[in-house]
Symmetry: C2
Subunit: 493 residues, 2 copies
């Protein structure tokens, strides 16, 4: 058939496509959502990489496959994936599935547009502003600016870049060579994206001064002051302080108000990495944890974690209302941000980022918020705190369980001391043996598929579990199961 | 109710949630997909920002809204959004909706996991490798490395960072201050992310040397050589050359093989930004456009554009098999990339990126590929070329239409010269008036909702249309309509 005749008919079968979609949707509901949330089903049907490779037959070939085989593939993908919506999934800082957020995600995917201009995303340009404004309001800012980013790491790295540009706008053209050596400050408990950002931005990890944290994992403001003096003595220019609200392991909150004092004294940009802890701002009962955050210059906050918005939903928020973010990142591409459009071009917001195409991340959060209201979200946050409180109390009652510290947030960090080690704290190989307990129990629960929880060492503390519950579908029965199961899996160790 | 009693029951109504999802899905199909692909419906129901703000009532409140209102909100969001799957949407470098890719996206969203470790994303860790390997195979590489990124801009910026690290690994710790001034090279027609990347990485836009392009928009290798000498004369160290395969406006392909010669001579990293043009590699008929790409050190390729995978799906591909990407970006967080896991930890790939949480972008491409096979995707690519060929021929036949240049790829760039300007090329205000034609026609089509196409100026060429057809649902009737409609909307200008 000649080229022009090919074009007489569509190259896509709409009806067959829709039928496939309907079927895939039902499989997703049945295999993913219903089984995924059923405690009698496995959190994950664990297979070793080589074995899974064989089962899945992933290789891509010249010819396509028939409908039935493709639907079976959908089932397989779901079957061997981790069910993060399972009530016994406690492994990450996210879990559960909110139906409204998920519906928002479906619609986002179908509309498949990019967030850069009003003409291509009219609803989402307006919606993003409203959602970001609402988040800023919870921080305590009236004005301000912001943008959704592909994850909290990139939000943190944006903060560092904007802080640099704010202090040394010539950097955009000239690069770091024309600048004095810069110094960034963050606590030793911070998220690794601060280090990654320093490398990426050409600042270097050697120029990240690590501030000491106290025994609860909180930055010590006096040490921050000391590090700033140290940097100045080394002829470096302090330009960026990162305070963390909700550290990854312990869930600690740096004392933002005190840190803000130090920053004000030294005229240094204060960024708050509240990717994890930011959602506590929604709770009138718990928002005090972030006291002082309104004094920050910028904040990173990931609703996809505690608020259950679904990956990715990460807000980078700025106090500045002067267009700093735009000036810092803009390139003014004439084919996208034309200056002779027929509408108010200030609605074309895409030049605020280093991305070009940018996924729409606001609809899922907006729809979920409309469905629950701020008070509904608050209940969810309070519920998460209640889980942790309950667990901490239970742990104190149970033999062999030992809290790493009293939880300040919803990170429940604890050791399980198996019977053979109890009362042997003084013995020579105690910590060595204790450090192997969590990995072994983790291996057993994975292979059994009964639940998932994370563990890690911290400084000179050997491996301990970090359990996090954000999924409101979880009940006390799941929490009790969790502790019982740890005992069952670890009793012979 | 006391905290612990609250926890006796789930805080989420599963049945109601599933019901809402079912209904939202049907609305999405009806309002989005069916109407969205129906040529008798509008591409976009255009409203000015203030008006749309009023209609949508976006503000977030304390209390939630009832089910019916939320479903109505879903309808509204769809109604006032642009239908990028509409057969008369020609505005961006993406369009259309592939049912298999979309099904893959749905499943991805439901599983809601992050791509960093094997334990949390077993299927997707393996799948990402297979898909990236297949893309590399099409480039002509046997080994190699890579990762999916949140968009082509970030892929390009990764390339620049990896090139810097490859040459000066000390940069990661020390920052740019310990390095000589660096020089990057790209053509004046390149994507703006190269400039954005230079700023972001602390290199500075002044250190991006713009290489001249010929009248077809292709980089002139002799000028690249000249610019490299110039940079060296200025004591800068050439470390990165970006060649573009498929420029944004003209769709031009830089002569990669010749550029590779220059890079080899000067030992400079060659990156190919094939975000747009990469998909031509799938076509045996058209892949010659990228001849020489196998000599590149890295490639950016966005299947979410021409292959219709849905935003976002952007691959950053490397020739290196030594772990360069990992060494460049890793931070070795002990709470995520534990070194005492029970499985082969080389499957934990998340430390290759600067992100922490990372969306799964591979399933949609994989499922679409399984459904169509490489040959099916090839047909789609060939069909896109056929659209453009047909249109270019039609344009030559029609009075008042004028090609900016013969299309090399699927960017159809042309002016519409309205009757009042025909034959007046010599008149004093000809270009001024011609430059206003495209914006006016664009305004009219937007307000009418009949179609969408982009326009832009380029150098001293005034505004011209850039039409791109990637959506296989488009037929010749839609293409004829497009030209007729331009005539209708512009005949009085």
């Amino acid at each position: 058939m000649a080229d022009k005749d090919v074009l007489l008919h569509p190259g896509l079968d709409k009806a067959a496509g829709e039928e496939f979609l309907q079927e895939a949707f039902q499989i997703m509901l049945e295999e993913g959502l219903r089984k995924g949330r059923d405690v009698s089903e496995k959190v994950c049907d664990w297979k070793e990489p080589e074995q899974l490779q064989q089962i899945l037959d992933l290789d891509l070939k010249d010819s396509g496959e028939p409908r039935e085989r493709l639907l079976e593939r959908c089932r397989e993908v779901i079957r061997y994936s981790v069910k993060t919506c399972h009530p016994r999934f406690f492994n990450q800082l996210f879990s559960g599935l909110d139906p409204h957020a998920f519906a928002g995600q479906l619609i986002t995917d179908m509309l498949n547009t990019s967030q850069y201009t009003y003409e291509i995303a009219p609803v989402f340009v307006l919606m993003e502003e409203v959602v970001l404004k609402q988040l800023r309001k919870l921080i305590g800012w009236e004005g301000g600016d912001g943008i959704f980013c592909p994850g909290g790491s990139i939000s943190n790295i944006y903060a560092m870049n904007v802080a640099r540009y704010h202090r040394f706008p010539e950097c955009k053209q000239k690069g770091n060579w024309e600048l004095p050596r810069l110094a960034a400050f963050t606590s030793e408990e911070c998220h690794y994206s601060i280090q990654k950002g320093a490398s990426f931005l050409g600042i270097g990890t050697d120029n990240v001064f690590l501030v000491a944290a106290d025994e609860n994992g909180k930055m010590i403001p006096a040490d921050l002051e000391k590090q700033i003096h140290q940097a100045k003595a080394e002829k470096a220019v302090p330009f960026f302080v990162n305070a963390t609200c909700g550290t990854t392991v312990l869930g600690a909150f740096d004392p933002v108000a005190e840190i803000a004092e130090v920053c004000a004294r030294h005229k240094v940009w204060l960024h708050v990495d509240a990717a994890w802890g930011g959602s506590a701002l929604v709770s009138r009962k718990h928002r005090h944890l972030l006291d002082g955050i309104e004094r920050a210059d910028s904040v990173a906050w990931n609703p996809h974690k505690m608020l259950m918005t679904g990956l990715q939903c990460s807000a980078f928020l700025l106090k500045d209302s002067s267009g700093l973010l735009q000036r810092c990142h803009c390139a003014k591409a004439t084919y996208l941000f034309q200056t002779d459009k027929f509408y108010d071009m200030s609605y074309d917001r895409g030049d605020k980022t280093i991305q070009c195409g940018r996924k729409v991340d606001c609809l899922k959060l907006w729809l979920m918020w409309k469905a629950n209201g701020t008070r509904g979200l608050e209940q969810r946050v309070d519920r998460a705190f209640a889980y942790t409180r309950y667990m901490a109390d239970e742990i104190k009652k149970r033999e062999g369980f030992q809290l790493v510290k009293e939880p300040e947030f919803i990170n429940l960090c604890f050791w399980f001391v198996p019977p053979s080690l109890r009362g042997k704290e003084g013995s020579i190989d105690y910590t060595l043996r204790l450090g192997k307990v969590a990995p072994t129990i983790k291996e057993r629960m994975m292979k059994k598929g009964s639940m998932m929880v994370s563990y890690q060492p911290r400084g000179n503390q050997v491996n301990f579990f970090r359990q996090v519950v954000t999924n409101p579908a979880v009940t006390r029965a799941d929490l009790d199961f969790f502790l019982d199961e740890i005992e069952r899996l670890g009793k012979d160790l």
